[in-house]
Assembly symmetry: C2
Homo-oligomer: 543 residues x 2
């Protein structure tokens, strides 16, 4: 299945139905971003009112393109889409990306058009991306069909329903200087489903971390199954909105998705080994942690700073995030103490205030000791690193840069992650650039540093668990009986089970249930109880 996506992400030719030169139009932005991005294949703008678009010959319809087309992007009003899709499959298109909104998410008429699109595409052997999506990006094809400024190639891939979330993430990526392999806006996902994209990204050698943004979940079972396999190889980090009533309402009016019961979603993501985060910042933070650093093998963190206040906050943050801040054994403390001022704590958190600011080499020595220390799984620096030059004197900059290089080396050699909170994180400081380029997570927020580490720990532990876990095998199921229960429910026009039906269904699948009898009068209840023996519980069954 994943193989068939190869042409979609690395097409030899792209047609854009609704290409335009009018600044700001969806078709204009995407034609421009495709051309600016350096796409190597052929590009066919489709627009019946223009001869040329951005210097390329334009065609009145896909049918009139003089050769085969691998991928077609469609940005025209709903009623014209089925015909464009029909022409696209005629031209041999393997993928059809539909940007247009106002389809299934707005009502019955839109749903009808979606069904027609899907039928035509399927019959013609093409897969549909969208509609109501913002497009695709593929670094390997230099293909930016998102209508956003140039995107740097890099280790992240994004899969999201919402187009504007994709804009947010590519924008953050640009600001933080990180890059992407594939970016997919799935939109209403009437054709290609999330689990198919995830399977493909799982195979993509350029993708190191998969970032998901979910509104509703369709084909949940398949999603969990695929994600569970993929997450053994690479981390999948997800935002799933609709945790709250208002969030679910917003998601429903956005892509028509049913957010589902959040507890079910949570359990499903956990089973799939997917890391769930609360918001875009965290999605990105956690992604950066995974992309750049080795996984911690446990939850014991060492905290260090030139400031006791920052240490206190970090220790609180770490424990609240689910990490442990153990006292270091005396031998470890003895290795660290010579680098600290007399009387400063080396037990963890470690305070190198008064020495490290002028001589950042101290930090390297402390980190070296911690990397060797068996009782420490991960490291968390907090305070002002990178800003010592401003606090102390300009000559310290060079010492900080040297220390940064050493820290990068130590993380790689020892295989333990290091996160860095510094108040100077948002400033253009070379020492911090060195850390970031070396894969170390640097953040202006102490809390986010702790959360990043904690998510890495959780992923590692969960992955170990899932390695061992096997699905429960269910044998000897009386499928006929199960089918009858469900048919009975449907026949009475319901979509939910009565308690008695749910009990029976669970029993069919081998789940042990305490004995129960459906009584239809007080007398029947009394009689049933005297047969079953006391104590009994009485429940109301009502459709």
């Amino acid at each position: 299945m994943a193989g068939s996506l190869e042409t979609i992400f690395n097409p030899k030719s792209v047609a854009i139905v609704g290409a335009s030169e009018v600044p700001g139009k969806a078709g204009e932005r995407r034609t421009r971003s495709l051309l600016q991005g350096g796409f190597q294949g052929r590009v066919f703008p489709i627009n019946p009112k223009r001869d040329r678009i951005f210097g390329l010959p334009a065609y009145p319809s896909v049918a009139e393109v003089p050769e085969e087309v691998d991928l077609v992007m469609i940005v025209i009003p709903p009623r014209f889409i089925p015909e464009a899709v029909a022409q696209s499959v005629q031209k041999g298109a393997k993928g059809i990306v539909i940007i247009t909104a106002g389809l299934g998410e707005t009502g019955e008429e839109g749903k009808r058009i979606e069904a027609e699109i899907l039928r035509i595409a399927s019959e013609g052997g093409a897969r549909v991306i969208g509609p109501n999506c913002s497009g695709l990006f593929s670094a390997s094809a230099k293909m930016n069909l998102l209508g956003v400024p140039p995107i740097k190639p890099g280790p992240f891939s994004i899969l999201a329903q919402s187009g504007n979330i994709i804009d947010s993430l590519t924008h953050y990526g640009r600001l933080r200087g990180v890059g992407f392999s594939k970016i997919i806006s799935a939109g209403n996902a009437i054709g290609l489903q999330f689990h198919e994209y995830i399977e493909y990204l799982g195979e993509d050698p350029d993708t190191r971390v998969i970032l998901l943004y979910l509104e509703g979940i369709k084909e949940g079972g398949r999603l969990v199954e695929v994600a569970r396999q993929v997450s053994q190889r690479k981390p999948i980090v997800a935002i799933k909105v609709g945790r709250t009533k208002a969030g679910a309402r917003a998601a429903a009016s956005h892509t028509g998705a049913l957010a589902g019961d959040d507890q079910v979603v949570d359990a499903a993501l956990r089973q799939a080994g997917v890391i769930r985060v609360a918001n875009v910042d965290e999605l990105f933070d956690v992604g950066l942690c995974f992309a750049g650093m080795p996984l911690p093998k446990g939850r014991r963190v060492a905290i260090f700073s030139e400031g006791g206040g920052d240490n206190s906050i970090a220790a609180d943050n770490a424990e609240r995030a689910g990490l442990e801040v153990p006292l270091l054994p005396p031998e470890a403390q003895e290795k660290i103490e010579p680098h600290l001022l007399q009387g400063m704590p080396a037990h963890n958190p470690i305070d190198y205030g008064g020495t490290a600011e002028e001589n950042p080499e101290v930090i390297v020595r402390v980190v070296e000791a911690l990397m060797e220390e068996e009782t420490v799984d991960c490291l968390y620096m907090t305070g002002f690193f990178g800003g010592f030059k401003e606090i102390i004197a300009p000559h310290v900059a060079e010492l900080e840069e040297k220390a940064a290089r050493e820290l990068v080396r130590l993380v790689r050699e020892a295989g333990k992650p290091l996160v860095v909170h510094t108040s100077f994180a948002n400033e253009p400081i070379k020492a911090l650039e060195i850390l970031r380029e070396g894969g170390i997570f640097v953040t202006p927020s102490s809390e986010r540093a702790a959360q990043g580490l904690a998510q890495m720990v959780r992923f590692f532990l969960r992955r170990e668990e899932l390695k061992e876990a096997r699905p429960v095998e269910v044998t000897g199921v009386d499928s006929e009986r199960a089918r009858k229960i469900i048919e009975g429910v449907k026949a009475s026009g319901r979509r939910n089970l009565l308690e008695t039906e749910a009990r029976e269904l669970l029993e069919v699948y081998g789940v042990k249930m305490p004995p129960a009898v459906l009584a239809e009068s007080p007398e029947e209840a009394a009689e049933a109880a005297s047969v079953m023996g006391f104590p009994v519980v009485l429940k109301v069954v009502s459709p």
Copy 2:
């Protein structure tokens, strides 16, 4: 009491014991920051090895300064401090700021020196700030005794134990372009206590928001009492570390503070009307919200964006933060719908995607309708505001700036706060500058936008509650009996109460307790139970 601090924050002369020209030294940094800051009074560097420091005549000791000195800052080793303090009070000093660390927080000898310092100062009529602190800043005196780069005057005052937290906050302030009225590093706080500083800041006309960083709490009762009064006039926002075991340990080795039971701290802060936040980012975010905007009168928030995905995330964030996202009444929706694309939701969250990006005026119209709407207490914009010019076309910049000015005006006129999450928040964009200068909270984090609003709501509701609340009046207390219980505990060398003692003490203060008897054998217990009547509960009492 607060009056006596006036001289400390607005001294006519300052002596620095331990002044230096050696770059990076604590005494050098503070002498330099005082002179660079434009302090208008007289400055006397004290250093027995130098004739001049930074061009000023230096004196071998405070005693040799040829005139009276209002404020003395001390940056010399512990054993020399008592003599310097004695000389300072001789010179009429009203305040003595002791930067030196290594005193009470490190052990008995340090505690002894602290006691001596305090005795000499008290006898001489001077108040002590610190030791183990980083100094003071006072905008009204242009006095920067913190050894940090220039600080802009502004509406915040900071009171913290930790010096490096103060460095963080002043640094953040600089980055975000906001300013401060007073900054106080209380350190070990052997002399001036937190509640005295808070009382002073409560009276300070230039302080609009008080930011607190607490490690331990001394004189908790006084602190609550003063804070409760002050928070009726201005918000007090606090970080209290030591929420977790590791955090408490870090705080203890930092300023020797006992963090105390966190639930007690939490209850005390709530009683005092103090807003508790989790970390430095939030402290600042919440501070900015309070400093710039009117308070919301309830928890009902309207959310709007050009992106449905951002809306979904925002709605989740809002409900999780404790806000409500109500459906707007039909009349309100009808006012908003004309500004949206056909079929886009106006019920809340509101999605103006496809119209506002090219024409930001749409946002102003939507906000106008929401400001008029009775069922909305506060507003929350999310998405890409400020970046439309980059997404659409450069000419949109001007329209965004115009919209920003209108939004500022609407917030002021309607008296409802507006928080803005935008992915472009960290970029130098004029429209966002206009919002910030107008007091609107702009943040790159959707979650932090929600938290900021939620904290404002909580403060408003809590303040209303506290207005009504009266302390419980306790009459008819048998103080003699209470005293005897406590004396009994002390006499047996304990610092905690047995359950029986606690029960008795509560009863003395009028708290009703179920009957209880202390039994010293199984037989006594059985006898007591038969007298009291069943059911009974048996508990172990053990010192």
